[in-house]
């Protein structure tokens, strides 16, 4: 994966984080939860990870050691479609394009929604 893409994602993630952190801070319990997004690259050439914690977002080339509340996995094409507003996140979940590796996904799903919406808004800036 190119450094440019990593840099861009880092920038977007930081902006997305700025947008959601106030909302999360209103609810201390809610803000304790963490999100790990695994973005799978085409043709099985690997993946990168977005780790959202109360301290911010990190873009990582390898899977971090974490007990994230919600671990989500999706192909890069779906992730990029969501950011370009070509795919509604709810639609991607309904079709099973976004999969969840942690239990109670439906309960914690709001975290993912908030984060993706934050990223989409950040792109609009």
């Amino acid at each position: 994966m190119s450094n440019k893409l990593l840099e861009l994602l880092k920038l977007l993630s930081e902006k997305a984080w700025e947008r959601i952190k106030d909302k999360l801070n209103e609810h201390p319990e809610y803000a304790k939860r963490t999100l790990l997004l695994k973005i799978k690259l085409a043709k099985g050439i690997g993946a990168f990870y977005l780790h959202v914690t109360p301290d911010g977002v990190k873009v990582l080339p390898t899977k971090p050691k974490t007990n994230a509340t919600l671990v989500v996995s999706m192909p890069y094409s779906v992730f990029s479609g969501i950011l370009k507003k070509q795919i509604d996140p709810d639609y991607a979940v309904s079709k099973g394009w976004i999969t969840f590796e942690t239990k109670d996904w439906f309960y914690h799903y709001t975290i993912l929604r908030e984060y993706l919406e934050g990223m989409i808004e950040a792109i609009g800036d």
Partner: protein, 234 residues
């Protein structure tokens, strides 16, 4: 909480209509009841109960999702607000987890939960029944039929599934019981097997357009009390 499963193996017999009206009329009679639309592939209860979104999606202190409020005031939940018009194509694990959250992580605050099950006897129905039974909760079945061969078969199959799982059949409801084009009835089967049969005629509902061809046989003032008492009374 006691779970009331509204079921039939046949689609289109009126499970949703009966489940919504059963909940509405039980609520009006003073029972603390809520409604869950578990027909995850084609949820439609919202059409009948006209719910309002909760202010917050989640109650963080109880770590549960807040239910929606039906027009009449009872609590309600459906997937319609997460996946409005999308066809769900989840695998077994994702489906089972969503069902588990809907059954156990909604702040129901009710003594009874009426569950509108999807048609069929497959994965969603089995997962829901087993989830409830594993937690040792009490369950009752309300099986919906209509006066035609396919619907009666669907009712018998639903009864078979519920009985296999050890669930008591509180009532068999024959919906559209006076529909003039249908003439097969489930009366004998219920009599032979000792099931309480409640007949619900073709009803004239508020949102139904006026049609002189059918106006004549539509019942306007059906009394739901008998069904409510049979299902909710001890």
């Amino acid at each position: 909480m006691i779970y009331i499963l509204v079921h039939s193996a046949k689609g289109g017999v009126g499970k949703t209509f009966i489940a919504c009206n059963l909940t509405k009329h039980a609520w009006k009679k003073g029972y603390n009841v809520a409604l869950l639309d578990l027909d995850i592939h084609n949820p439609c209860c919202h059409i009948y109960v006209k719910p309002q979104k909760p202010k917050e999606i989640e109650d963080i202190y109880s770590q549960k999702l807040n239910p929606y409020k039906a027009e009449d005031g009872f609590n309600f939940f459906s997937l319609i607000y997460h996946f409005p018009e999308y066809g769900i194509t989840w695998d077994e694990e994702m489906t089972a987890q969503a069902i588990d959250v809907m059954l156990n992580k909604i702040k129901w605050g009710a003594d009874f939960l009426v569950i509108d099950l999807p048609p069929g006897t497959d994965r969603v129905v089995q997962t829901a029944i087993r989830n409830i039974k594993e937690k040792g909760k009490r369950c009752k079945g309300v099986v919906v039929a209509a006066p035609n061969t396919g619907a009666i078969l669907g009712a018998k199959r639903a009864i078979d599934v519920l009985k296999t799982e050890g669930i008591e059949i509180a009532a068999v409801v024959e919906n559209l019981s006076d529909f003039p084009l249908f003439n097969e009835h489930i009366d004998d089967f219920c009599k032979q097997n000792g099931y309480k049969l409640i007949k619900v005629p073709c009803l004239k509902t508020d949102d139904m357009a006026s049609n002189p061809l059918i106006e004549g046989f539509l019942t306007r003032d059906y009394d739901w009390s008998e069904l409510v008492e049979v299902v909710f009374g001890e």
